[in-house]
């Protein structure tokens, strides 16, 4: 349900629930999802050219801070979203894995660019052919480098995932099996 304020600014959609004077009753999942999706703190793991496009996305022209990602966290312990941008070489693989393991649940991974998704144009002996060989990935953004609009689209898809995620997902057997597949405890 779209609403507008008196000055004509469009408000976001409210979750479904029972509304009355001074209270709004809805399910906890919806509220937590809405809060989380609008305040994702990304960890920009920028290695090469896609990193420069990310810097352009954070700039004033294509502002990523509108989506709540104003505070970039370079410490994995305080980050929600790991944005892997650029080529990951085999030498860098263990470092990426260590950064992923240091992140606290709930965490999401966005793989930006062709090199991070699948090795890209570098089908060579020294490049890891896709980061999903070592960590689980939620959204892939193709492109070489992707335009800032595409990166924002990727972040919006992550927002969709964050909004609709069940609160119990990180304890479920399915998720544990996924992590076991990658050898993450």
């Amino acid at each position: 349900m779209e609403a507008t304020t008196a000055s004509g600014i469009k408000l976001g959609t409210k979750p479904e629930g029972v509304e009355g004077p001074g209270f709004f009753a809805t399910s906890l999942e919806k509220v937590v999802g809405m809060a989380r999706k609008n305040s994702i703190w990304p960890l920009p793991f920028a290695t090469s050219c896609c990193g420069i496009e990310f810097m352009a996305t954070m700039g004033a022209h294509y502002d990523l801070a509108r989506f709540g990602s104003e505070r970039l966290s370079f410490s994995p312990r305080q980050a929600d979203l790991l944005m892997v941008m650029g080529t990951i070489a085999k030498k860098m693989g263990p470092v990426l894995r260590q950064v992923y393991e240091q992140m606290a649940e709930p965490r999401w991974v966005l793989s930006v660019g062709a090199c991070a998704s699948s090795g890209g144009i570098f089908d060579t002996y020294s490049v890891l052919q896709g980061i999903d060989r070592i960590i689980p990935v939620d959204v892939y953004v193709p492109g070489c480098p992707p335009r800032p609009e595409q990166i924002i689209d990727g972040v919006m898809k992550i927002q969709k995932l964050v909004e609709t995620e069940s609160l119990r997902r990180r304890d479920s057997d399915e998720y544990k099996a996924l992590l076991n597949k990658y050898g993450i405890a």
Partner: protein, 403 residues
């Protein structure tokens, strides 16, 4: 009266010096790019630094042995990705030198305009990042807005923003549209005002000057011994610029000044880059004024895709098109070295061809790789925050470092 010295020795045992080892790791917010430094520190002073690189090694030199010439252009893009057109044109000029092709004057002037625009964007990133590392975040946001204007110009010509793959062997794909010229004129009108604002923020700023003067300096003799080139060498006092020493693409027709520093410290590099941006603007204006008429590409039928009207109507053009796209054109034998003035220094391409369809050996002389060796020497004895500043002022770009 004799002054008695305090009795200390029998009870005072000097302790062994203990050093801390700090890992300025591959993922660090302030190192712009991924390279690692293990710093041996005595408190806050750095005693020794051991750099480790190779975290983004993509084997360009081996990759180039598998690809025909125009397929190598996209990988040269990804070396110094802040000023990708310079890399592209450097590669195209190397190939044209091997083939012995005469490039029309108009193409050379157009190439000069694009290369100077690319140089401006490279210096913008570096200077904005020096500002960010000292805490001045506003400059960064303003400068990236100006880069968007240049990206739009690239998009009009070749379709891509950052990794441009611009131009062809022999010239350009098509004549530049009037919209391109409109955007270039808009840039030339708006950019000097913003650059002046940026200068007013930082050039004579007391805090910035105190922070950067005397930090991370290197003498001219050491810089030459380390084979520095580009801005880092000019800031140390040596006026070596490939555009003047070995002019390519009609640079001898333009009048410009090479700014030279004195101490080789962070402030000198910042100021040299600022002045080079003004000089680049002047070169672009001169090129637009003196632009000659003529074709937008040279006659290189073996390597330049024929226009589509001819491909659909002319048998010969169809065969050429097929051969070029499938990469079945044979390259003449030869060994050639060509260098251009990249954003970081002398960017050279050494091409050995043995007559096959791909190069036998392509070696890229990457300026970043060569001058980063001097980093441990430059930061010895300085504090940790100065080390970060030195690294960002050297404009180390990870793609060029590792290739």
């Amino acid at each position: 009266m004799e002054v008695k010295q305090p009795a200390t020795d029998q009870f005072y045992q000097p302790r062994e010096k203990q050093y801390t080892y700090l890992n300025l790791g591959p993922t660090h917010p302030a190192t712009h790019g991924i390279f690692q430094n293990v710093l041996k520190m005595d408190g806050e002073i750095i005693v020794e630094a051991t750099p480790t690189i190779g975290y983004i090694h993509r084997a360009f030199e081996k990759l180039a042995e598998r690809r025909p010439f125009y397929q190598i252009t996209p990988i040269t893009d990804r070396m110094n990705y802040c000023s990708a057109p310079i890399n592209n044109f450097g590669w195209h000029m190397t190939v044209e030198k091997l083939l012995g092709v005469e490039i029309p004057k108009r193409v050379q002037y157009l190439r000069v305009i694009i290369m100077e625009l690319a140089r401006i964007t490279d210096h913008l990133v570096c200077n904005a990042v020096i500002g960010v590392d000292t805490g001045a975040l506003t400059g960064f946001v303003y400068m990236f807005q100006q880069r968007e204007l240049v990206y739009e110009i690239y998009e009009e010509i070749c379709g891509a923003r950052l990794t441009s793959n611009i131009g062809r062997i022999g010239g350009f794909e098509r004549e530049w549209s009037p919209k391109t010229w409109e955007k270039i004129h808009r840039f030339l009108k708006e950019f000097p005002l913003v650059l002046k604002e940026f200068e007013d923020l930082l050039n004579r700023n007391r805090i910035f000057m105190d922070r950067t003067i005397g930090c991370g300096g290197i003498t001219a003799e050491r810089a030459l011994n380390y084979s520095f080139s580009g801005v880092n060498l000019r800031a140390a006092g040596v006026d070596y610029d490939v555009r003047v020493a070995k002019p390519y693409s009609s640079y001898e027709d333009f009048e410009f000044v090479i700014p030279v520093g004195k101490n080789g410290d962070v402030y000198d590099r910042f100021m040299v880059r600022q002045e080079e941006m003004w000089q680049s603007l002047s070169i672009i204006r001169q090129a637009i004024e003196k632009m000659p008429e003529g074709p937008f590409h040279a006659k290189v039928p073996d390597f330049y895709l024929p226009p589509k009207e001819e491909v659909y109507n002319n048998m010969e053009a169809l065969i050429y098109h097929f051969k070029i796209v499938m990469g079945e054109t044979d390259i003449p034998k030869g060994e050639v070295y060509h260098c251009v003035e990249g954003g970081n220094g002398e960017l050279g391409f050494y091409l050995i061809s043995d007559g096959g369809r791909t190069p036998f050996r392509l070696h890229m002389r990457r300026p970043c790789f060569i001058y980063y060796q001097a980093y441990p020497e430059m930061i010895k004895g300085s504090m940790l925050s100065d080390a970060i500043l030195t690294m960002s002022s050297m404009n180390v770009i990870a793609g060029e470092l590792d290739a």
